[in-house]
């Protein structure tokens, strides 16, 4: 069964075409890495899938429904982890509170949070290895811990699909690989479909079943080993990228482009 179907999607913002005729499909239980340069439309794609932006043409179906209907009628079908965990580092909530928030939509208006909801939240924190930090103020956790809590929040509604937008941008390099490993484990244990958007072409693709390169157009849609060919990447990034290959794992070595993209 297809979890996500995107056909002929075009998004124009402020007179500029951001996404140009995108077609994409995702099977249940599969993971997809969308890589591409900053400004290539990755976040726009995520926001359009989440129904936050309206496309000019084309359609998006999540479990056969348009995004707004999924969010309204089937709360919790999509889990989302944003680039930045939240805006206020001193917001007075604990990690557990944040995880329970993910269920508010499902609990519904005018109904209080029950003990069962909190227990569920705790077990989600356990799943991501954060049970010991449940009662810590969310702002006192490290970037990686915060993102794990955000994953726990998206898991509490038993989603079918998880969308992550640059989830490791605030996570120190040493913890990034652990984070990707966690995602892969969740994918297999919960048979979760995962879309991860990233400009990290070094690590993300190796943890994904499929990789797509996005720079206004979606360039490729295949297995990681195929994608990591530098001519394809050059087309997507519009700049020279060189790789050193250690077996199947590519490492980007040309760092000076990073500043240019940011």
């Amino acid at each position: 069964m297809k979890v996500l179907e995107i056909s002929n999607l075009t998004v124009v913002r402020g007179g500029t075409m951001i996404l140009d005729n995108i077609n994409l499909e995702l099977e249940e239980g599969q993971s997809l890495a969308v890589i591409g340069p900053n400004g290539g439309g990755k976040t726009t794609l995520v926001k359009t899938i989440l129904g936050l932006l309206q496309p000019q043409t084309g359609s998006i179906r999540i479990m056969g429904l348009p995004p707004e209907s999924v969010i309204r009628k089937r709360p919790g079908t999509i889990g989302y982890v944003a680039q930045r965990a939240f805006y206020d580092p001193d917001f007075p909530v604990s990690a557990l509170d944040v995880v329970v928030m993910g269920k508010y939509g499902k609990i519904g208006l005018l109904r209080p949070v029950g003990r069962k909801d909190r227990e569920e939240a705790l077990s989600c924190l356990e799943t991501v290895g954060m049970a010991d930090f449940a009662l810590r103020p969310i702002g006192q956790l490290s970037g990686g811990q915060q993102q794990r809590a955000m994953i726990a929040r998206s898991l509490i509604t038993h989603p079918r699909m998880l969308i992550l937008d640059e989830p490791t941008s605030g996570v120190d390099a040493g913890s990034q690989e652990n984070f990707y490993r966690l995602l892969r484990d969740l994918q297999s244990s919960l048979s979760l479909s995962i879309i991860q958007v990233s400009h990290d072409i070094a690590l993300v693709p190796s943890y994904s079943d499929q990789v797509a390169c996005l720079n206004k157009q979606l360039f490729l849609h295949g297995k990681p080993d195929d994608v990591m060919r530098s001519d394809i990447l050059k087309q997507a990034y519009g700049c020279q990228v060189e790789f050193l290959f250690h077996g199947t794992m590519p490492h980007r070595t040309v760092e000076e482009h990073r500043g240019h993209h940011d």
């Binding site: 989440l50 936050l52 969010i71 309204r72 709360p75 919790g76 999509i78 989302y80 944003a82 939240f86 805006y87 206020d88 001193d90 917001f91 007075p92 909530v93 604990s94 509170d97 944040v98 928030m101 993910g102 269920k103 508010y104 939509g105 499902k106 609990i107 208006l109 005018l110 209080p112 949070v113 103020p137 509604t157």
Partner: protein, 267 residues
Amino acid sequence: MIELLSYQFMQRALAAGIIISLVCGILSFFVVLRRLSFIGVGLSHAAFGGVALGFFLGVEPTWTAIGFCVAIALLIGMIKHKGKIQEDTAIGIFFAANMAFGIMLIGLSHRYNVDLFGYLFGNILAITAYDLKMITAVGSLVLVITALFFKELLFCSFDEEMAGICSVPAVPLNYLFMVLLSLVIVVSIKVVGIVLVSALLVIPAAAGRQFSSNYRAMLPVSVLVGLLSTLGGLFLSYRFDLPSGSTIVLLATLIFGLSFLWEHTRK
């Protein structure tokens, strides 16, 4: 204490003070978390524009002030929702614009003018029976609605976009909150005055935040700080014969100062 209660105006001041500290204490929780600290000042100037409009059109100015405030609050919410502009910027824009609008209307009406600020005059010692009814009605309405939607309002204050994705009706709730806030502000201006409302919408939660790192503690502490300032301020102003509103505001500020000291010497 008993002597203080023998005056009708002090009884009403206490009653209205308790209601306003409760309502503002809880609203201040959201005001501070949403970084809306200037909303009180901003909307009070919208009320000024509204009063000027009422006088200009020959309509009861209280109603135009309420209508104007609610409209401006919704506009501030809408600008934040639609644009790339933060609420504080939107408040800044309307703050100035409403003031100018009011002054423009005064200029257009060629007549010796009543003091529009005088019309907006509210003081905690000058509360009529009608004022008390009005603030009780608006206060209870706001408390009930806030209690009913508390968890959603909390989520929206934390991360509005995420709340929407988690199927919480974030946008309507945001507008609802702005409407509640503007109602409380405009009614409180008429009852206790601009300075006191603006202070009670910010200082209690600011102090509460110093004392606590979780909202379950911060919320009651905020309300408590509001109550303590209001009751303590009224009491001190009575004992030393000081202007009551200013005494309350300064006491609240003192409490905030202590909370700040506490938080920063604890580490």
